[in-house]
Symmetry: C2
Subunit: 432 residues, 2 copies
């Protein structure tokens, strides 16, 4: 039996700083849970960190030297809280190769290197855990590894980026335009100065890659995920959505269909009476559909140092418990190479089209003909907001289920009509 | 390494039948997850079961003989799906004492004998798992055992009885009275012919006992839980609740306050904008508050053979995986004898009073005096529905935070006033 489990921590940003607090402040609880004390034995920082009060408070535990860090004796678990692809990937590989269980909050490196990291962990008989990478403190990965294991997961519908959900909630409730909502979010610290990662759905795609990989046992590379951001949405879309009974959310969707997996991140119409429609502000939520459980939903704060530290320390505790019990790699996150990611063109859903047309008779017939030619059936149409000064009007078309391929062809067809001035937006309709 | 994990199943009702289906139908997936095949080796039934098609389909696997069942070689895990306190308790004890890991969906036996069963499992170095006992297929117990382990849990607010939630939703949406809503629920199979266990909160109290025990590491006996059912609610209460901005839910609440635990099941006013207010029909949801994660919520279908089998098989898989890895009792569900259950009199919350009074001047002053004498501060009062024929009126008083003790004294005081004809209802106000 081990008498102590040693933790090596890489990085000393706000999340790492909070992890240090929890490991110290709750040492008794964690020791009881694990069976022996869990102690920080070394912290790897960069030069710039050395000036921080929290580095100074750690005294001799801190090093800037990579070799010194990895050669620390009694280090059983390495916690990587640096973020980004490099050098985190090299550090994780070195940690695993030297027989340490690893815990990471780094969605990017896990999403980009899932199969490689899992194979290395298996080879070295250690665990790889990354609950904190998706949804902060909400238990989102462990349900797919344990609780829902008897289920065939049909679909996952997730709001997993708090920044965009905050912006969309503002646009919906306050009626402001995207740029204004983004500025507010930046002023409040919910969006970064360079917001691209969030608003273009890149962050959500990393998280979806991990979720889909766990739920469907398939490697989903971030570049396999179809991705659209939220910057094209405007107040007209929100007004029509309300009128039609929907909210607009940036959804990360993974669905399984005959062994092929569809994965996409884009704004979507969500029925206003559904749970996901009610997930507002910086909250995150994941709805999973399983053949046995039907629908289950998990929600909470998806980011922030405190919730993220909750997930990191839970993973540390689970790894420590495994080490204490003599368990290495649990082998429960395995990838099935037979499953394939479905091309976006084959995806089928419903669509909302908003376009600006010439306000004269016969236009709707011409527009309808384009849909008909592409085998897309229209479920409803709204024409309003005629602008007498320009002689134009805005129409909204809602379709029945249609293939993305057909929709793209229809979009080209609509753009080529002389009576269509502009197709302003096209939004998928997902949760009803 | 084990070459096969053998399962003994006790009971052959709808849940057990579904477990058999899943173990067979998903044998490949489960074997991959565990590391070796997981097979049913014996099923204990009662005489009356022998006529059932699903018993006949199992052939020689079925026995009515308890000794034959327990003496089956190669039985590593016993799944108890009988329900009720006896004989389930004896079976579980025999299974554990003979070195089998146990999985049960039986909330009553676990709630009533938590400490005894945990101690026996620890002594015999086997696991005791009961995820299916609370909330069907929603992962509700494992978050407290693993994911939230770094948190001090402040409170749990749960809708964990689908029957009562269905009835309350009908009363709210359709405006029907309790008896009518109950009849509808019975006709649809959501309520039993003898509905007492559900409508009096007994079922919810068993589940809360287990949740609180895990979250707070304290033994909570069902009789320690303050309990009020839903039969006293009427359409007036729903109307006032709406008017004041609330929904009415049967909540199971466990809160921690300075090492003392309060546990109670009763109807409660819940802010209509909160997540719990939106949990309708037979859905279940648990909101947990932790110092690190803040609020997290889990929801889904809380009952039914399919969701329940999902949880049972997840537990079977986890137990099988432990056996495969050579792990016995994980020792993570431990009870702290220092924590105490708080007497209900000491609980502090807000209250809604509805009463029938004489419709004459000075009555509100007399009523207010009673509240004042008991140090209860009134936050708002509504007087309406004067009945000219009887000269009576209905008033509703909402209080600020007050101790249950004071409220009970005030209730006596109000009843003794000659101007108060009846105190029709008193409902706690919990989620705002």
């Amino acid at each position: 039996m081990k008498e102590r489990i040693g933790i090596g921590l890489m990085g000393l940003g706000v999340v790492a700083g909070q992890v240090v607090e929890v490991l110290k402040g709750k040492a008794d609880v964690l020791a009881r849970q694990v069976g022996c004390p869990v102690e920080l034995v070394k912290v790897k920082v960069v030069e710039a960190d050395l000036k921080r009060p929290r580095a100074k408070a750690l005294g001799d535990l801190v090093t800037v030297d990579e070799d010194e860090f990895f050669e620390t004796p009694g280090m059983d678990i390495v916690v990587e809280a640096i973020g980004g692809e490099k050098p985190a990937l090299d550090y994780l590989k070195r940690a695993i190769s030297s027989g340490r269980h690893v815990v990471t909050s780094n969605k990017e490196v896990v999403a980009k290197h899932t199969a490689e990291l899992l194979a290395l962990a298996k080879k070295n008989d250690v665990g790889l855990r990354c609950e904190a990478a998706v949804g902060g403190g909400i238990p989102l990965l462990s349900p797919f590894q344990y609780d829902l294991v008897a289920n065939d997961i049909g679909g996952i519908y997730a709001i997993i980026n708090g920044t965009t959900n905050y912006i969309l909630t503002s646009m919906d409730i306050e009626g402001v335009e995207f740029e204004e909502a983004l500025k507010q979010a930046q002023a409040l610290g919910y969006a970064e100065a360079d917001p691209e990662n969030d608003i273009e759905g890149i962050d959500a795609a990393y998280k979806l890659s991990i979720l889909a990989s766990l739920a469907f046992k398939v490697e989903v590379k971030p570049q396999d995920i179809y991705r659209e951001g939220i910057s094209r949405l405007d107040s007209h879309d929100f007004r029509y959505a309300r009128e039609l009974g929907y909210a607009i959310k940036l959804l990360a969707i993974a669905r399984q269909d005959n062994g092929s997996i569809e994965v996409r991140v884009h704004p979507a119409f969500v029925d206003e009476s559904s749970f996901l429609a009610k997930v507002d502000g910086v909250y995150n939520a994941v709805l999973a559909e399983g053949d046995l459980v039907d629908k289950v939903m998990f929600s909470g704060q998806g980011a922030g140092p405190l919730p993220t530290s909750s997930a990191v320390v839970a993973d540390v505790t689970a790894a420590a418990r495994d080490i204490y019990l003599g368990v290495g790699n649990r082998g429960i996150w395995v990838l099935n190479p037979d499953k394939k990611v479905k091309p976006m063109e084959e995806v089928e859903t419903r669509y909302y089209f908003r376009m600006n047309i010439a306000d004269k008779s016969g236009v709707l017939a011409k527009v309808s003909t384009v849909f008909g030619q592409n085998d897309i059936s229209i479920s409803s149409a709204i024409q309003q907001e005629t602008d007498d000064s320009t002689g134009t009007a805005e129409i909204v078309i809602m379709t029945h289920l249609a293939k993305e391929k057909a929709v793209r062809r229809a979009l080209e067809g609509l753009k080529s009509l002389d009576v269509v001035n502009e197709v302003n937006n096209l939004i998928r309709v997902e949760i009803e």
